[in-house]
């Protein structure tokens, strides 16, 4: 609309200017103005469309605008001569004004080029800006939820409550538990910036968590860890096992009554580190699909981001045993 209005203004202006030269009749002036400006409008439109899709270099843009202006002028001349052949003195006037026309066309097209280029540039910047803020927001949220998950406030508060109970009756054990809790938290924070760790280290970290849970739940929680000799030095993404084991403990402890045993096996299968976690559960009362818990989902997503594979984590339920299997490809 603005574009159209702009050219109508120019048609009116040009008509007056041409008529006031005293050489042309109203009819010739109007026709000349319309032909000139319609063709320039078309030329300008071609320029805008081409700028929208690719951004040529400065020098090319200049050449392109000159070429387009010249093309427009010759087209104007040809059409005007066809239509206004009968007007006396028009042809002579046209020939004389060719240079001015060419300059005028080029000026117009250049203005349009610059304006549209600025417009597209601004829009692109805006888009870039909004995309950047969006990405940053997402990253911040992810960071926050990761932190919250790692700190596990409930685990922390319940452990502190247990310590509080021990302080009165068994201060030595309280001190030991504080030590374990501190080591565990330190490990969690430190591992944050490490991508891969040895299984040995990861299990040591996990053991701390299990020791604390055992103090909390007393005789109810038993654990059994078996690992093949070769797996000690194998690598896995840091803090990957923890949510899986936590999941196992949660389902084991809150889904059944009485003693439970959490089993963890680590083996080598086809150059992969293969880890299997077993926990008891009650198929009748457990909440629908224990496999879709938040913990498992985030592990699945992380594995996909790291290895581009979706087949590394799997879960099974058989009778009252819930099994989680994890395969970690090893660097060659």
């Amino acid at each position: 609309m603005i574009y159209l209005g702009w050219w109508i203004v120019w048609i009116v202006l040009q008509t007056f200017v041409l008529f006031n030269t005293g050489i042309l009749s109203w009819y010739a002036a109007i026709n000349d103005a319309i032909i000139t400006n319609v063709i320039l409008a078309a030329g300008g439109y071609v320029m805008i469309s081409s700028i929208r899709f690719y951004h040529p270099r400065q020098i090319l843009r200049l050449a392109w605008s000159i070429g387009l202006a010249l093309g427009c002028v010759f087209l104007i001349r040809w059409i005007a001569l066809q239509l206004l052949a009968n007007e006396i003195g028009y042809e002579e006037f046209l020939e004389k004004s060719m240079i001015i026309r060419a300059l005028f066309s080029w000026l117009m097209i250049s203005i349009i080029t610059i304006l549209s280029w600025m417009w597209f540039y601004m829009r692109e910047q805006q888009e870039l800006e909004s995309r950047k803020t969006n990405t940053e927001k997402l990253a911040r949220e992810a960071e926050l939820s990761k932190l919250r998950q790692q700190l596990q406030p409930h685990f922390l508060f319940n452990s502190l409550n247990s310590i509080s109970a021990l302080v009165g009756t068994k201060p030595e054990e309280a001190r030991k538990m504080i030590q374990e809790l501190s080591d565990f938290l330190r490990g969690t924070i430190k591992k944050d910036d490490q991508q891969f760790v040895k299984l040995e280290e990861e299990l040591k970290h996990l053991q701390l968590c299990l020791e604390i849970e055992k103090v909390r739940f007393g005789y109810r929680l038993k654990t059994q860890i078996n690992q093949e000799e070769q797996t000690h030095k194998m690598l896995l993404p840091s803090l990957l096992l923890q949510p899986l084991v936590e999941n196992a403990i949660k389902f084991g402890l809150y889904d059944t009554i009485g003693e439970i045993t959490i089993r963890l096996d680590a083996r080598v299968v086809d150059y992969h580190l293969y880890i299997r976690i077993e926990n008891p559960f009650d198929p009748e009362t457990s909440q629908p699909q224990p496999g879709t818990g938040f913990g498992l989902n985030s592990v699945q997503r992380r594995l996909y981001l790291l290895y581009g594979r979706n087949d590394l984590l799997s879960t099974q339920q058989q009778d009252t045993v819930f099994t989680t299997e994890l395969k970690i490809p090893q660097p060659v």
């Binding site: 409930h154 409550n161 247990s162 739940f217 059944t256 009554i257 009650d282």
Partner: protein, 246 residues
């Protein structure tokens, strides 16, 4: 002697309360329970004046356990989760202790109980029985007691719910359960986009509905997947129509 029962799945958490209670010789801990099942049994047996109750426990949580008791005693919740506080006070808890809590905070909770009990006598307890425990979050299972057994029914197993004197009958594919609750309790606690109270005495899940048929002039019945026919009241019919968008 004031009888107290502790219900918490962490032994150390119970021993902490035991220790704090030693300062009050008039309180006697009659039993200490590992989970809600033991809790139900102990409460029915001992009829305590006050219980200390954890929320997250094996199988059934603290709120579900309270639902199973006909005359619940006064409750002080002890938990590490602060997100249940509102729900706890809706269940007429005396207090809500956030783990880990110190002796001073514990004393305050006990004072609160002593005050309430001297002022209103046993009235508060009686009032508590008749009040509903409202569940602000979506409920995905219902806990019922059958003799000494406790059953957990996932809500998607429910065929329909029927009023039955002071009880409601909950029908599932295989069985029928009785629970001492009112219809409005279920109406409020079940997800209203899935369960509709179609009659004074009936609540049906939309997933079970196959057909609505006219019975006589102005009256309708709902046909369920298992063949059951449920009468619809006028308002029930309208409600059903709104929920279904017809």
């Amino acid at each position: 002697m004031i009888k107290v029962i502790l219900i918490d799945d962490e032994p150390l958490a119970r021993s902490l309360v035991t220790e704090y209670l030693q300062a009050y010789p008039q309180f006697e801990i009659v039993q200490s329970c590992n989970d809600g099942f033991e809790g139900v049994k102990a409460i029915t047996q001992h009829k305590p004046d006050l219980i200390f109750l954890d929320i997250q426990m094996p199988k059934i949580n603290g709120f579900e356990m309270l639902e199973l008791i006909e005359q619940p005693p006064s409750v002080i919740f002890t938990t590490a989760f602060d997100e249940y506080a509102i729900k706890a006070f809706e269940a007429h808890a005396i207090d809500y202790l956030l783990k880990p809590f110190g002796k001073e905070r514990f004393d305050k909770a006990l004072q609160k109980w002593l005050q309430q009990n001297s002022q209103a006598g046993k009235q508060t307890n009686a009032a508590l029985v008749n009040e509903e425990i409202r569940n602000p979050e979506e409920r995905n299972r219902i806990v019922v007691k059958e003799g000494s057994h406790i059953k957990i029914i996932p809500v998607h197993d429910i065929l329909y719910i029927e009023a039955y004197d002071d009880y409601v009958k909950i029908f599932t594919q295989k069985e029928m359960f009785l629970k001492k609750k009112t219809m409005s309790f279920f109406e409020q606690s079940l997800n209203p986009s899935q369960f509709v109270r179609v009659h004074r005495s009936y609540i049906i899940p939309l997933a079970q509905l196959t057909k609505i048929e006219p019975l006589e002039k102005d009256t309708h019945i709902a046909l369920l997947k298992n063949g059951a026919k449920i009468p619809l009241s006028k308002t029930g019919y309208l409600k059903l129509k709104t929920v279904l968008g017809i």
